[in-house]
């Protein structure tokens, strides 16, 4: 089995076209990593990796129980369910995706009191006057923080704001959260 490393592009590891074509919905399996699509969340109860590609103003919220290696990653595009128009897909919003994911993790066997979180994203991609005067990236990360606080989930690390997009990889095996911004790679 081929393992994805930094030198390989995703094209190198992509499955043959016909298998990709038959799997139009997320999660797309790219080698061992699960891609979490925009406005979705994924949970894992085995050691594995969850990836958000190209987080712009969205936030990638990782929540995990380090003792049992159960964790999830949400790719939230809007701040609050209450303020949103779409009431069908609650995973789109930072606050409701956290609540959904926590419930699912607890159901899978995680202990609510042991849950820890890491967040990244919420960049301001374009800086100019527009309908985005309140900066959607900032509102997303603030909503995520406030919800984690309200749910009493300790935030172990964050990398938010700025003007650049990020690709993040969360590992349920050790709770590591790798952030890639252009050529810079670091862990939080």
């Amino acid at each position: 089995m081929r393992v994805m490393d930094d030198r390989m592009t995703r094209d190198d590891v992509a499955a043959p076209p016909h298998t990709l074509g038959s799997l139009p919905h997320s999660p797309r399996r790219i080698d061992e990593a699960c891609i979490v699509g925009v406005g979705e969340y994924q949970t894992l109860d085995i050691p594995g990796q969850l990836v958000c590609i190209g987080l712009g103003s969205c936030v990638g919220i990782a929540i995990f129980d380090p003792q049992v290696q159960i964790g999830g990653l949400a790719h939230a595009m809007l701040p609050r369910y209450e303020e949103g128009r779409d009431k069908v897909n609650a995973a789109k919003y930072a606050d409701s995706s956290i609540m959904l994911m926590v419930d699912e993790l607890v159901e899978m066997g995680a202990e609510r009191g042991r849950l820890r979180a890491k967040i990244a994203g919420g960049a301001q991609m374009f800086s100019f006057m527009s309908s985005d005067t309140l900066n959607i990236g900032q509102r997303n990360s603030e909503a995520a923080r406030a919800t984690l606080k309200a749910e009493r989930i300790r935030l172990l690390g964050e990398d938010i704001g700025g003007t650049r997009g990020r690709t993040v990889t969360f590992s349920t095996a050790d709770g590591s959260y790798r952030v890639q911004m252009g050529n810079d790679v670091f862990e939080i």
């Binding site: 190209g54 969205c58 595009m77 779409d86 960049a123 991609m125 100019f128 309908s131 985005d132 959607i136």
Partner: protein
């Protein structure tokens, strides 16, 4: 709220959108050609419906670096306008505009400002052509520029559109220059109200 199927299946509206894409793109390319002193052509103009959640993934390799200029239309007709180039295309555009030989490089601040202006001129030409054609006022906002992953840029555009609808009508134009098959991409994303307004106007013609 998704786009009503009556809109997706309305032949008059779809023809009208094709026309808008063609007219807007023609004006945008003319403006761009004048600006850089080279002939830029419209390769394809098409339109399709896409969910806001999937838009960041459907236009190509999500992690490729692109140079994007985004602005919004105000007035009776609202919507987003996104112009995208590859890094190399963007720098060569700037060099053509300043009549100097092309050097492969990362975008610096001057390049960013210049490409911002290119986007501004193209998008304004597009919007004013559409406004004139449809009789709906559309005023462009000041432009913003970003050099980042395709996915991150489209995600922002999706998040902006998401407040209006879960589905987007995308009017896409591809530009070509000389022999190169790829030059740039222009997306016009009218909001639901504007689509409805356009449908009314097309029917009245």
């Amino acid at each position: 709220m998704t786009l009503p199927s009556s809109i997706e299946q309305d032949p008059i509206l779809l023809d009208g959108l094709t026309e808008i894409g063609n007219i807007g793109a023609a004006h945008a390319t003319t403006a761009l050609s004048k600006l850089i002193g080279r002939c830029i052509m419209v390769e394809v103009s098409e339109h399709y419906v896409c969910s806001t959640q999937k838009l960041p993934e459907v236009l190509g390799d999500p992690e490729q670096q692109v140079v994007a200029v985004y602005l919004e239309a105000y007035g009776a007709g609202k919507g987003g306008m996104l112009l995208m180039f590859s890094q190399d295309t963007a720098t060569s555009l700037v060099d053509m505009m300043l009549s100097r030989p092309h050097a492969v490089r990362e975008l610096d601040d001057t390049d960013r400002d210049a490409i911002c202006e290119v986007g501004n001129i193209c998008a304004s030409a597009y919007l004013s052509a559409v406004a004139k054609f449809s009789g709906i006022t559309m005023v462009p906002s000041p432009p913003g520029v970003s050099v980042d992953m395709l996915h991150a840029i489209l995600q922002y555009v999706s998040a902006m559109a998401e407040e209006d609808s879960s589905e987007l009508m995308v009017v896409q134009t591809q530009f070509v220059h000389g022999e190169s098959s790829y030059f740039g991409n222009l997306l016009y994303l009218p909001d639901q109200g504007t689509i409805r307004l356009l449908a009314e106007r097309f029917r009245a013609v």
